[in-house]
Subunit: 298 residues, 2 copies
Amino acid sequence: MADESQKWVLMVTAQTPTNIAVIKYWGKRDENLILAINDSISVTLDPAHLCTTTTVAVSPAFNQDRMWLNGKEISLSGGRYQNCLREIRARANDVEDEKKGIKITKKDWENLHVHVASYNNFPTAAGLASSAAGFACLVYSLAKLMNVQEDNGRLSAIARQGSGSACRSLYGGFVKWVMGKEENGSDSIAVPLVDEKHWDELVIIIAVVCSRQKETSSTSVMRETVETSALIEHRAKEVVPKRIIQMEEAIQKCDFATFTHLTCADSNQFHAACLDTSPPIFYMNDTSHRQVLLTSSY
Amino acid sequence: MADESQKWVLMVTAQTPTNIAVIKYWGKRDENLILAINDSISVTLDPAHLCTTTTVAVSPAFNQDRMWLNGKEISLSGGRYQNCLREIRARANDVEDEKKGIKITKKDWENLHVHVASYNNFPTAAGLASSAAGFACLVYSLAKLMNVQEDNGRLSAIARQGSGSACRSLYGGFVKWVMGKEENGSDSIAVPLVDEKHWDELVIIIAVVCSRQKETSSTSVMRETVETSALIEHRAKEVVPKRIIQMEEAIQKCDFATFTHLTCADSNQFHAACLDTSPPIFYMNDTSHRQVLLTSSY
C-alpha cells in the first residue's frame, strides 16, 4: 500500500507571452551563460495571442524531473534546462499549504522532483520566439512553486540561461535586454523601458509565412555567424549601440515612423548577417520578401 | 544628286566578353567618373559564350551619333555614353584607307558622327554584366575606328566611365579593378592579375534563374546602399582589402578551395549589403537560395 505522505501534489500554472525583437539579439559572447554581444529591445505580445502556458508540479511521488512540451515528453538533460532548474532550486524557500497539509522546507527542494507540462498556442521553433516564452514561463512558474523571493529582473537573468531572448518575456510592453559587462552575467538582465500600458494602441500583425520547424537551431546559426561573418562584430559594436538610443527615444515619443524604420532596418540587418554567414542562412523566402517590400513601401 | 564624297562608310566590329566579379564592386565614391569604394576582382568569360558584339561605323552622311542595342534604337544622350564618346574622340588620330580612298584627319573626328550597333548573346540587364561587356566593347571598337593609340589600361579608365565593371572586360582571365586614389580617376583602372591563359581549366557555370530585366538599375541600388547601409563602409574599408590579398594569392596558386570559399562569401556579403539597404533589395529568390546552398555544401 502506498505511503499516504506520498500522495500530495502541489501545482502552479503560469502564462507567458512571446516577445518580438525590434532591435535584434544575434550573437553570444558566452555560450553557457548566454551573454549577448549587443543590447536588444523587444515588444512583449499580449498573452491572449501568442503565449506559452506551463504547469509545474511537485510531489514526493515523482522520482525524477520530467517535462512535456505540447503533449510530448522531452529531455531535461540539456545544460539550459539544468541551469534554470539549478538556479531556481538554489533560491527556493519554505512553502506551506495548510489546507492540503503540505509543508516543504527550503532544504526539501534539493530532493523533490518536478514535472513540467508546457503548451504553445502558436508554432514551435518557427521564428516566433517559442523558446523565449517557454523558458520565461518555466522559470516564472518554478519560482512561484518554490516561493523564490526574487524580482523579475533577477528572474530574467535565470530565464536568460535557458534562452537569451526569454529574459525579455518577464516584463510586458517594451523591454530592453542589457547585455551587461560582468563575466558571470549578473548584470545581463531585462529592464522594462516604459510602463506596460505605454503606447498600447500599437497593433502587431504576425503573418505566418511557413509554420514548419526551422532546419537549423538559432543557437548554432548564431554561433556560425559570430565565427564566420565579417560584418557581425561591426554591427554589434558600432551599429546597434546607436540604434538602441534611437529606438528608446522613438518608443518614449511613440514616434511610429522612426520606430518602424528602425525595426525594419534592424530586422533586415539581422537577415543580412545570416546571409554573410558561411555557409549562409536564409530565413526569408519569396513570400517574406514580398511582405518586407510591402512594409517598406509605407 | 548626292555628293560622291558623302558615300563612304568606315566600320569596325569587336567582340567583348562579360566578366563575373569574384570580389564584388558595390558602391561608388564618385557617381560621374564612376570611382569605386573598393577594389574588385573578376574573371572574364570566354567570348564564345557570353559576349557583346558591337559594330561602329563612321560616315560623313551621318548627321548625329546613334546607337541600336539588340536591334532597338536607344538614346546616347546619357552622361555615360557622352563621357565615353568624348574621351575617345579626344584621343582620335588620323585614319587612312587607301583602297576606299578615305582619309580622316585627327581634326575631322570632331565633326564626324558614329552609328553603333550592339548585340548581347545573353539576357540584358539581368545580372550578367551586360553593361560591362557593352561599354568595354563600345570603347574598344570606337578606339579602333578612331585609331586611338592607348593601351588597354588607359582604355579601361574610359570604359569605366560607361559602367564601372566594364573596365575589367578589357582584359581576359583574372582582372583587378584598382579603385585608385586620384580625384580625376586616372589611376582607377583595370590590371590583369595573371597571364590570360592562367588556370584556364577553370569552368564557370552560369545558371540563369530568371532572365527578366532587373526592376531597379544597379546604379540606383548601389547609391541607396552607400547612403543607407550601416555595413557597407565597413565592408569596403575593412573586409574587402583583406579579401583582395587572399583572392590574389588563391588565383596565383590555383587554390580552388580558397577561391570558391572567398567567391561565395563575397557574393553573399554583396547580397547582405543589398538587404541592409533601405528599402532592402532582394536579388535572390527561392531558386537561387537553393543553388547557393547546393554550392556551399561542396
